[in-house]
Amino acid sequence: MDFSLNEMQAMLVDSIEKFVANDYDFETRQTYAGSEQGFSPEVWKTFAELGWTAIPFSEEDGGIGGTPLDLMVVMQQFGRGLVVEPYLANIILAGGVLRRAASDEQKESWLQPIIAGERQAALAFVEPQSRYDIADVALTATADGDHWVLNGKKGVVLNGGNADLLVVSARTAGDQTDAGGITLFAVAADADGITRKSYPTVDGHQAAEIEFKDVKVDGDALLGEIGQGLTVLDAVMGDAVLAVCAEAVGIMQVMTEKTIEYTKDRVQFGVPISSFQALQHRMVDMFTDCELSYSLLLWATMLASEGDEKADRAISSIKYQIGEIGRKVGQEAVQLHGGMGVSWELDIAHYFKRLTAIDQMFGNADWHLDKLAC
């Protein structure tokens, strides 16, 4: 048993830490987050050059065959740096579907440019009514000779406004919430009939509402088998949960460290407020929650990477934990920062918003605890 980082992981941590320290201070991050795209295309290019965008993909696909644990350390560092570049949308979500379901030709057209940082992609799987049920798909794809015609709406598509490629879940058979009959398509974002309404999200990222009106796509837009999309989506949701949970652990650690530092500096009643026992015990709980969450993340990531039969439960466990504990740690960090904790100018507020956003994605704490209770 060995919980230390291997050479490659240590190198990844080191290089991301250096990148954040040198090129990604909080003000810079805010500039990128506040830009129209919501991230920095140059920084994204750097990520590609450094090979970070290639991590989860196999060598045949042009990747470097990294493990889920490698991804975990990357996301944890991105969390610490509060990185807004669309790694989740491109690499984990859209990339996750493509590497599992795309044909060689589709990979060449779409996956390689994504890995190279030349194209942006998004996974359109949420609908206005679907909440966390990825099988609730009302958007339809109807076969029309060699073509498919898509009609419907997708909501809160992360990176949707920037995307050149939209990976879309569509219903090709069955009722609105049937598990079968869901099919995935790779659709160029500039296809006729697509209307995108792009907007920033509360955590400094970017998303879009997307309407499909008689959008006609070729047969080669079909990703994987007809009606079998949910299996692929399920697997990608697992990746996504692990990724955002690793990010959240990074965020929680930073928030805890910053809170401890802040209370040591902040003097009230003639003493640093870190000397108040009631606050000390609360910070001990924050620290403890971070440690336990990191432990659980390791367990879940490892089970998932081994394809263990308990992986689904492990994924729900960590998402539940992060939702529950993330809220607690985030709220405590803000509270102990007092007025500064609710100031836009301080980074702590933005860590808090990202942490909060993470609970809202891919099933919140309640959703996953319900799964575990069955």
Binding site: P128, Q335, A349, T356
Partner: protein, 400 residues
């Protein structure tokens, strides 16, 4: 023992309810429902409306132009106000500086300042906290030196809510440093915001809105006649002010209104999806908050009844502040959770009435849930943080 409202109270409630139903401007109610932040003018229109009806000083004694209502009537008024989607009262004048002036001010000050508060002519703001003095307010460093017939004020006040609207500010400033206890030597001053040397800097809060400010004083000349009460007694007056502020601290009326809205929202089904009301785990949390709120409501009513029986609200009313804000924040969290992915969009402009309905992202009130959630983390921090409230209860109620 009788926990019901008297017939007279119920009659009063009907009167208040009818007033809001008939008189509250539709556009203001619409903004509230939509989640559009109110503008200065909305608040002022509302205050003038109350004033015209004779309710401008709903919480003031009759002799200063108030209604002289009982604690129970004030409670009913505030509850109905929230239920009607009316704006809140502008607290700075009516609940904060006003009571200090009519309690400790001289006749000239009363005549000069009180009517404008009742009529909504003058907007006040608060100058208490400083960047280095939050929970430990007595450590404030703003100085006021008496030079001739003026105080020369220097320092910075922070977290000044809606200071950008204000015509006047009331401040606590140190007029004497040679004191035995830090609480001494602090004075309560009133300053015209247009006085040279006062500058207001916006502070953007976590959700991206401009609600609070820093107010800087650089050699600001405040006429000596603007001192309220005695020099050096400002701390005492400030504490009385906090006592007044403590009515309706639990925010029960607003929380009840919001919880009803949430319950209505959970019944709504969108595009063939199951309504949230069928999510038993979520509804358990809603039910638990409703129980907490009911307990809080009756604790507040108990306090009111004690006040009505002639007892002052004691330090135990601190529990209303910290539990009230906890419940508020629990309701914020429920709205956030109800919104799912639609808590993510950050499109504040879409809450204005002009914004086309069909272009809105997310349906119903949940669209503003995350902004409310983030912004309202302040509730447990301001007005004496919840930690300070617990210190007060520990010391003054439990004798620890």
């Amino acid at each position: 023992m009788d926990v019901t409202f008297s017939d007279k109270d119920i009659e009063f409630r009907e009167e208040v309810r009818a007033f809001f139903r008939d008189k509250l401007p539709q556009d203001i109610a619409a903004k509230q429902i939509r989640g559009e932040p109110l503008e200065k003018d909305d608040f002022i229109r509302f205050q003038k409306l109350l004033f015209e009806h004779g309710w401008g000083g709903y919480n003031w004694p009759v002799e200063f132009g108030g209604t002289g209502w009982s604690a129970v009537q004030k409670y009913i008024f505030e509850t109905e106000m929230a239920a009607a989607n009316a704006p809140g009262i502008i607290a700075f004048g009516l609940k904060m500086v006003g009571p200090v002036i009519y309690t400790f001010g001289n006749d000239e000050q009363k005549q000069r300042f009180l009517p404008d508060i009742l009529e909504g002519n003058v907007w006040w703001c608060q100058g208490y906290s400083e960047p280095g003095s939050g929970s430990d307010l007595a450590s404030l460093r703003t100085r006021a030196e008496l030079v001739g017939d003026h105080y020369i004020v220097n320092g910075t006040k922070s977290w000044t809510t809606l200071g950008q609207y204000a015509d006047w500010i009331f401040i606590l400033a140190r007029t004497n440093t040679d004191v035995a206890r830090r609480q001494e030597g602090i004075s309560f001053l009133l300053a015209d915001m247009s006085t040279p040397g006062i500058t207001v800097t916006p502070v953007i809060t976590i959700e991206g809105e401009h609600e609070v400010n820093e107010v800087h004083f650089e050699d600001v000349k405040v006429p000596a006649e603007n001192l309220v009460g005695e020099e050096g007694k400002g701390w005492t007056y400030g504490k009385v002010l906090l006592q007044h502020e403590r009515t309706n601290l639990a925010g029960v009326g607003r929380s009840k209104h919001r919880l009803r809205n949430l319950q209505a929202q959970t019944g709504r089904a969108v595009r063939g999806a199951r309504p949230l009301a069928e999510d038993h785990s979520f509804m358990r949390k809603v039910a638990a908050v409703a129980v907490e709120l009911k307990a809080l409501e009756y604790t507040e009513l108990r306090t009111l009844a004690a006040v009505a029986a002639g007892n002052a609200p004691g330090p135990e009313s601190s529990i209303l502040k910290f539990r009230g804000t906890e419940v508020e924040q629990a309701i914020d969290t429920l709205f956030l959770e109800a919104a799912g992915y639609y808590a993510l969009p950050y499109v504040p402009e879409q809450f204005t009435l002009e914004f086309p309905e069909e272009d809105r992202v997310g349906e119903g009130p949940e669209a503003r849930s995350s902004l409310q959630y983030f912004n309202n983390r302040k509730a447990s921090i301001y007005g004496g943080s919840n930690e300070i409230q617990k210190n007060i209860v520990a010391k003054h109620v439990l004798g620890l």
